[in-house]
Amino acid sequence: MTVYLLCFILFLTGLYGVITRRNLIKIAISLSVMEFSTFLFLALVGYREGGVAPIVDTADPVKTYVDPLPQALVLTAIVIGLATTAMLMAVIIRIYRKYGTFDIREIKNLRG
């Protein structure tokens, strides 16, 4: 149970960072923290106590296997997360060129 709670705390840490940080790069890092806490949770859900990699062994039918599906999901989600992060970084670099700052308080052309 503790490990799930730690995972949730990691998620909330990321969310806290997204809300409170002023630097765009730090916001991007906080988003990555949120992202990886979710991946960690997904991998934990598939874990079985004493389980081994899910390659079915006919000689030993009582062996416990970990659930392979969440692992496949994590791989897909990591690829998506990579695309999101790359896109966000590209936008942040463009913003730095236009505004000359990473401070989110200075970037406020749009109002209301």
């Binding site: 896109m87 463009r94 236009k98």
Partner: protein
Amino acid sequence: MMNPLIPLLVAIPLAGAFLTMIVGRFITGIPRYMALTTLLATAFISFWLLLAGEASPSVYIAGGWEPVNGVPIGIHLVHDGFSGLVLCIISLIGLLSVIYSISYMAWYTSENFFYALFCLMIAGMNGVVLSGDIFNIFVFLEISAISSYALVAFGVEKNELEATLKYQVLGAVASFMILFAITFIYWSAKTLNIADIRSAFSTGDRGSHYVLIQVLLLTGFGLKAAIIPFHAWLPDAHSSAPSPISAMLSGVLIKAVGIYVIIRLFFNMFVITEGMSVLIATLGALSMAAGVFLAIGQWDIKRLLAYHSISQMGYVIMSAGIGMTLMARGIRPDVAALAITGGIFHMVNHAAFKGLLFLNAGAIEYSVGTRDLHEMGGLAKSMPVTSATSFAASLSISGIPPFNGFFSKLIIIVAAVMGRFYLLAALAALVSIITLASFMKFQRYAFYNREPDNIRKEIKEVPAPMLLSMITLAVVCLLLSLLALPGVRDSVLTPATEILMDQMKYSSQITGI
């Protein structure tokens, strides 16, 4: 029955996107026609499936992984009455936006990137709507989200970049909440197929985190759909994007990845509980009222339209919430069906008139060069077609007969009164009147006021492709009123309502094949 046409709806735009990138590198001028062909093919297939398809849902299992012992293991693509309707509006608005872009995007460079991203966004939305599997909803959601982030930033100026940053940070938070909720669902239901999750939730112990899952999903998709407490990104993103993209974002994207998924999941995946239904109806009513009050003070045309999108989406969410509440209480199923029909009808109508209004705003920006209502006036003489079509769309959004908006709002208000939600009915009527006032202002300042003296430039009507899209959508706005007729309604709207109303039909038909 496997229907081989279903995967084409995702495959064609996906192939179109990548081919556009490759071919557009060598031959300039061809990407627009490739995107046009792609969208024509998608539109043809989606209308064919809606009109010629059987009433029951048809399923395609990717890779042919048949269910084992009644447990679905493959990726299901499901086409039923509700998703068919949403697919049709995606491809119709998409097609008209591409036609419009042929002239409009001449302002911008990198034509092949624009059309490739456009096709990718369509592929993502079609995938979200067709997917019968909650993890694939997430994957396709991200495909459409990433391409829409790039499209919002297409101008790469200060405003566009700021808007896309807000959109992207909030969108990423929403995505992780959705993924978190999906993990919880897999934990408690041990499956990812929506129909199978439904049977797991309705029979066994739902687990202590059932409410947490619902709240996480409502927050995540609420952020994507810009329901009121989560709406901060929408006015910026929708007003900064190029106009055909604004029409797609406001007209289609927030419905396909937000409203559609919320309705689908809360009706067909979760067992409806009264608390959650009341929460959804309240959020809807809140967006409806707050959106219109925020809109009324706006002078930027596209920002005004963007706030109205929040308000009109509130109508859809509210009527879905009314339907859910009545179903949870187990009373008046006829009124619940009426409310849900009204919601779906309004969603279809909103795609038509809001798409048209954004195209009008783009036409004004194209000819006059500004989006500020203070700096324009007297455009009715110089731009007669834009003026006439935007008049039709304004009447339609404010609910004046014989345009489509009137009938859907009428159905929603009647359903609210019959279900004894008098406060919500009064609020819906009041919001409709304020919407009318706000669009009177738009019409008057843009088209009928005296021209401001400082404009000396000759203002011309926009080129033919843009006119074609706007006139087609205005005709669609009129024709959609026909959906209110009993005969037409039974064949188009009723299947969509039935699949949502019938508690066990969706899951039994998909797991029991």
